[in-house]
Symmetry: C2
Subunit: 203 residues, 2 copies
DNA sequence: TGAGATTTTGACCATCCGGTAAAGCGACGT
DNA sequence: ACGTCGCTTTACCGGATGGTCAAAATCTCA
């Protein structure tokens, strides 16, 4: 009783999702067209619709598949580790995620920016619970004097905001820095230093 | 020789821009429809097109009108003031701008997210020059030991990222914090404290 | 090889959308 | 009273787009 999806089905679905990620992240849900996605996937439009029932289905499949990956770095926080190191590690992983998967980051950003029509349940469900859990962890570290004190939720927001900024607003960052500079290399240094300052408790 | 635009033209154009801001910021350029904008403005679609030649014209009119307002807080940096106070003041003004004009913030974010098809010249022109100027000012303050040292450009990015996050990703912020909490009130406190920590030079 | 299931295609459809054309309407000056 | 000018509306068009369908091509496996 192994799954009844053939090898070719797996491949085609993967192709379509890859193409959908490309197109949706660049044009947004409304800007993307089935023809465009199909072309990017090397298929005809009806062929694409043989594997997914609708444009929206491709979109939500992408979003759902994304959320877990996106939240993994947060889950990796180790209560037994050194607090500053742990949170800085989270910052680093999140920044690398934005650097290595900018299309995913932009897809996400577009969905949230439009009011999260598809993702809202996940936001106030899975996401909220996960954040609450780790915010509590961070709060404990602060209470123990092992992290500079602030509101843990807003600290997490600041990490999201800063790391994703480099992916979501990449054109702006590049325009402002100029073509000679390397945004991601600098971001690595600067973001790390920024949060080292924010997190390290004052003697 | 006074301008030949009548009073009613001024009013209608303003109505249309207001409606366009509403619709474009909520649905994005592709998601927005002329009918939708016209309805929001209390006009018929052909009537709207009597005042603007195309959908894109409404959109770019909005963007152009916006950029100046958006950059005003940066221009207000006073070289003669106290560095920490000045930059914290910039943070506060930028946060208030995001709080009071979330539609503008989201319109902007959407444009950048899609690669700034309309705004790119402004980004590498006006914006870059303005940022360079003030980055140099901030750099001087740092060199004088009156601000904690970092890369001024990335410091500015971090201010943009953090303040706009509360407007652009408002649904996510609200979902994570829960309905009882007041994101903007907390943001005011937390963002201020965050940057106080980042900016204040160590003894 | 051949039957049956799976995959692919081309032709087609209904709807929506940006934009146009032309006629109607109201105020105002002569 | 009438013509003109500025504003508004009704009717319409062409193209794009999401999606359907039935037939054709291809693959699988006995």
């Amino acid at each position: 009783m192994p799954d009844d999806t053939t090898r070719i089905q797996k491949n085609r679905r993967a192709q379509i999702l890859e193409a959908g990620l490309d197109v949706f992240s660049a044009e947004g849900f409304n800007g993307a067209t089935l023809d465009g996605i199909a072309r990017a996937a090397g298929l005809s439009k009806p062929n694409l619709l043989y594997y997914f029932p609708s444009k929206e289905a491709v979109y939500v499949a992408l979003l759902n598949g994304l959320l877990d990956t996106w939240l993994d770095p947060l889950r990796a926080l180790d209560p037994a580790g050194d607090p500053v190191e742990e949170v800085l590690g989270y910052v680093r992983r999140k920044l690398h995620l934005a650097r290595d998967y900018p299309r995913e980051s932009r897809l996400f950003a577009g969905e949230i920016l439009r009011g999260a029509p598809q993702l809202q349940p996940e936001l106030s469900g899975t996401l909220r619970r996960l954040v609450d859990t780790h915010a509590r962890q961070i709060g404990d570290w602060m209470a123990a004097g092992r992290l500079a004190t602030s509101d843990p939720h807003h600290l997490i927001f600041s990490i999201w905001a800063l790391t994703q900024h480099y992916a979501d607003f990449e054109v702006q960052v590049r325009a402002v820095l100029g073509a000679e500079r390397d945004p991601w290399a600098e971001a690595e240094r600067e973001v790390q230093a920024h949060f080292a300052r924010v997190l390290t408790p004052t003697g």
